[in-house]
């Protein structure tokens, strides 16, 4: 049993090492992804370009424009603009906000202690709309503090941010990236590795040899487990070296639970390989059924709580949802098995169930 498994294992390793292009991509992609994600992904807007229609032309209105252009959120695009120009300018995408100061701005401020400005926002990207609105509120709050010497409030809000006090997006994305890449490598590679043998006809050759199904499965799957874990290690290392993402909890626990997740992902891959006849179909199935949902529905980027109920249920059926909670919990919150036992058990159950179905189907096809 052991010798035959070892033989398959060796064969699979030779396959992997011989195809250096794939290997290079498998190893380089996570690093490149982490560098790009680390630097590129930030939801905070900066330098939002805006123009001004100042119908008041008073010292107060000029001070308001100054306050908008000096805080780092907005950048003034000078030059005259009229109401009629706005659609054209928004379509040219050179500004996202027009600040309209009405002619009675200073008069109202002096007589009624209350005045208005209009913000015309290109909100085709709703996120931009929200940010522009929030930033404008902050700028106006500053302007009012300046005018009054205090905030016009009855009480203050004192926020305290846990786990990620600077709200850095790398701390949020990197643990998610570990989950994504483990899923990608484990599920995709396994499903392809087995279907490839079917497509090229070598599977039949293996089948007529005295190797047993379980031995084939173990020999095929183990190299990819190792590759996956190697990758996870590389990601975690580069995350902490390049971006100072902390690992506050136990590294051992993280390793063990990651192994469990890899086991689930591999079972997925195995299951697909028993269904698909060609590599192309295996690839599409894995892509559509595991990787895209993992990116979109597991809470990797988009908050699960904001989704409609049906999608929340689907996300509860995804292994990555549980693994993400585990990785983020251990890395950022520093929590342990006590808080994560349910998640670990669910993963274990999913893996066992999938593997059972996959081996059953595998044996059926062999007989």
């Amino acid at each position: 049993m052991r010798r035959r498994t070892l033989a398959i294992l060796r064969k699979e390793f030779i396959h992997i090492l011989r195809d250096w292009r794939s290997l290079l991509i498998i190893i380089l992609m996570p690093i490149l992804m982490i560098v790009l994600y680390g630097y590129a992904i930030t939801m905070d807007m900066r330098d939002i370009r805006f123009s001004v229609i100042d119908d008041a032309r008073t010292p107060e209105s000029r001070a308001l424009v100054q306050a908008f252009s000096e805080n780092g959120f907005f950048r003034l695009v000078p030059g005259p603009i009229t109401h009629e120009d706005i659609p054209e300018r928004f379509q040219r995408r050179d500004i996202h906000l027009v600040l309209v100061i009405p002619s009675e701005y200073s008069r109202d401020l002096a007589r009624e202690h209350s005045t208005r400005v209009q913000l015309i926002i290109d909100a085709s990207d709703n996120n931009v709309g929200t940010f522009v609105n929030n930033y404008s509120e902050q700028v106006l709050a500053g302007v009012m503090r300046e005018m009054n010497g205090r905030a016009p409030l009855l009480f203050d809000i004192a926020p305290r941010i846990f786990y990620n006090p600077d709200m850095r997006s790398t701390n949020f994305f990197v643990p998610g990236l570990v989950a994504l890449i483990l899923m990608l490598i484990s599920a995709l590679l396994t499903s392809i590795a087995i279907t490839r043998e079917k497509e090229t006809g070598t599977m039949e050759q293996i089948l007529v040899s005295p190797v047993r199904p379980l031995e084939i499965v173990i020999g095929k799957v183990l190299p990819y487990v190792l590759l996956g874990l190697l990758n996870a290690g590389v990601i975690l290392l580069s995350a902490s070296v390049l971006f100072d993402v902390p690992i506050r909890g136990s590294l051992l626990l993280l390793g063990l639970l990651s192994l469990m997740f890899v086991f689930v992902a591999l079972s997925f891959g195995l299951l697909f390989s028993t269904v698909a006849r060609t590599q192309q179909i295996a690839m599409f199935m894995t892509l559509m059924a595991t990787i895209l949902p993992t990116i979109m529905l597991s809470g990797f980027i988009f908050p699960i709580a904001s989704m409609p109920a049906v999608l929340r249920w689907i996300s509860q059926a995804l292994p990555a949802t549980y693994y993400l909670t585990i990785v983020r919990g251990i890395m950022l919150k520093g929590i342990g098995l006590a808080e994560l036992s349910t998640h670990a058990l669910v993963l274990l159950g999913m893996g066992a169930l999938l593997l059972l179905i996959a081996t059953k189907r595998f044996q059926l096809r062999l007989e």
């Binding site: 292009r21 991509i25 308001l64 015309i120 009855l154 690839m283 599409f284 559509m288």
Partner: protein, 374 residues
């Protein structure tokens, strides 16, 4: 010409012979469209909030009561003990806690401005920021109510001058993320399908050995490539037509601008992605390699397209990198035509960039093909 026709016919037969391929082409993408259209949301809803009241006065109770009944906030419990709050955040049972200090009511009435503590899980920084915004919004509303109910309180603030903002959200007045995201998903699905279909389709012929059979026939390299491009562009256009219909029926999002322009630009985009697909097939030996190179290309094409991370937010060097990405241009074009009804003059730069990219990648692909054949 007849040769190309036969090749096209062969390609269609190959695609439609396989039932799972039909599913992959025409069923799965649209399931994805429905799923993703609902899943990809940058709106933050159902924030789980713990409320803590250390004051226990009518005012503090009324304040905390105003957190209930918002669609953005789910109140999950009452807790004012810091240790218990920290544990709830640890377990993920709550992501925000609002705690009113002792003597809240007394201090407000005396004008001493007590501090309302807001404890938030900051792991998802974006959501945390938005959630803090909700808390401030509710607090501001409550303050406005206090002021109108109790004129005595208002005297505290009487001499203070106020500037109010009146935001107008153009093109997307309700700030719905689906309006922005769904057209992007159409581009995404088109990219995935066309790149994989061409790259893996050609490499598959290499792997099985049928490409050699084609090479010994009198078909020329250009004809061979045309025989691949024509069927896949037709499939791609079909995909986008169906996708746009579904977007309208399911999400109620119609095209503001010219449909003709949208289709023409889509055709241009499909040509660039097919070019990429063919190029990938010329540098890969096995389907696995084609898959990896394709996947590699797409991850970056999607990430750097502005699909969910605005390009303006990226560091400058990364921004320059996005100019090499055809998806970046198509994403802008699609959204502008969909949301603003922009016409060609406003999209000229993007169109030209896509054209240049397409011509370059196609020439490279044909050249690589010739090298291999010769």
């Amino acid at each position: 010409m007849r040769r190309i026709f036969y090749l096209v016919q062969k390609e269609f037969r190959q695609v439609f012979r396989d039932k799972s391929m039909i599913g992959i082409l025409f069923v799965v993408p649209f399931i994805q469209l429905v799923l993703l259209g609902n899943a990809i949301t940058t709106e933050v809803k159902h924030v789980r909030v713990l409320l803590g009241d250390r004051d226990g006065t009518p005012m503090s109770r009324a304040f905390l009561q105003s957190f209930r009944g918002s669609e953005y906030i789910d109140v999950v419990g009452q807790e004012s003990d810091e240790g218990a709050i920290a544990r709830a955040l640890d377990r993920g049972d709550a992501s925000v806690a609002v705690v009113l200090p002792r003597h809240f009511q007394r201090d407000v009435l005396r004008g001493e401005r007590p501090a309302v503590q807001v404890l938030a899980d900051g792991i998802d920084g974006n959501s945390a920021g938005v959630a803090l915004g909700y808390v401030s919004g509710i607090a501001a509303q409550y303050q406005a109510r206090l002021l109108s109910d109790d004129p005595a309180l208002g005297r505290q603030l009487l001499d203070l001058r106020r500037v109010q903002a009146e935001p107008r959200f153009w093109f997307n007045p309700d700030l719905q993320s689906k309006v922005y995201v769904v057209p992007g998903i159409v581009a995404l699905l088109l990219l995935i399908i066309t790149v994989f279909l061409t790259s893996m389709g050609i490499v598959r012929e290499k792997e099985i050995g049928t490409l050699e059979q084609l090479m010994v026939t009198p078909i020329r390299a250009t004809q061979l490539i045309l025989g691949k491009i024509i069927p896949f562009s037709i499939l791609g256009m079909l995909e986008i037509a169906i996708a746009m219909g579904l977007v309208y029926v399911l999400f109620g999002i119609g095209v503001e601008g010219s449909l003709l322009l949208l289709f023409a630009e889509s055709g241009l985009f499909i040509l660039t992605t097919l070019g990429v697909g063919i190029f990938i097939s010329t540098i890969s030996e096995t389907q696995q390699q084609a898959l990896f190179v394709g996947w590699f290309f797409m991850i970056f094409a999607i990430l750097l397209s502005g699909f969910f991370i605005p390009i303006a937010n990226m560091p400058e060097t990364v921004q320059y990198l996005t100019y090499l990405n055809p998806m970046r241009y198509f994403m802008v074009i699609l959204r502008e035509i969909y949301l603003k009804g922009s016409s060609l003059p406003h999209l000229l730069n993007e169109t030209l960039a896509m054209l240049i990219f397409g011509v370059t990648v196609f020439s490279a692909a044909v050249w690589r093909y010739r090298v291999k054949l010769g």
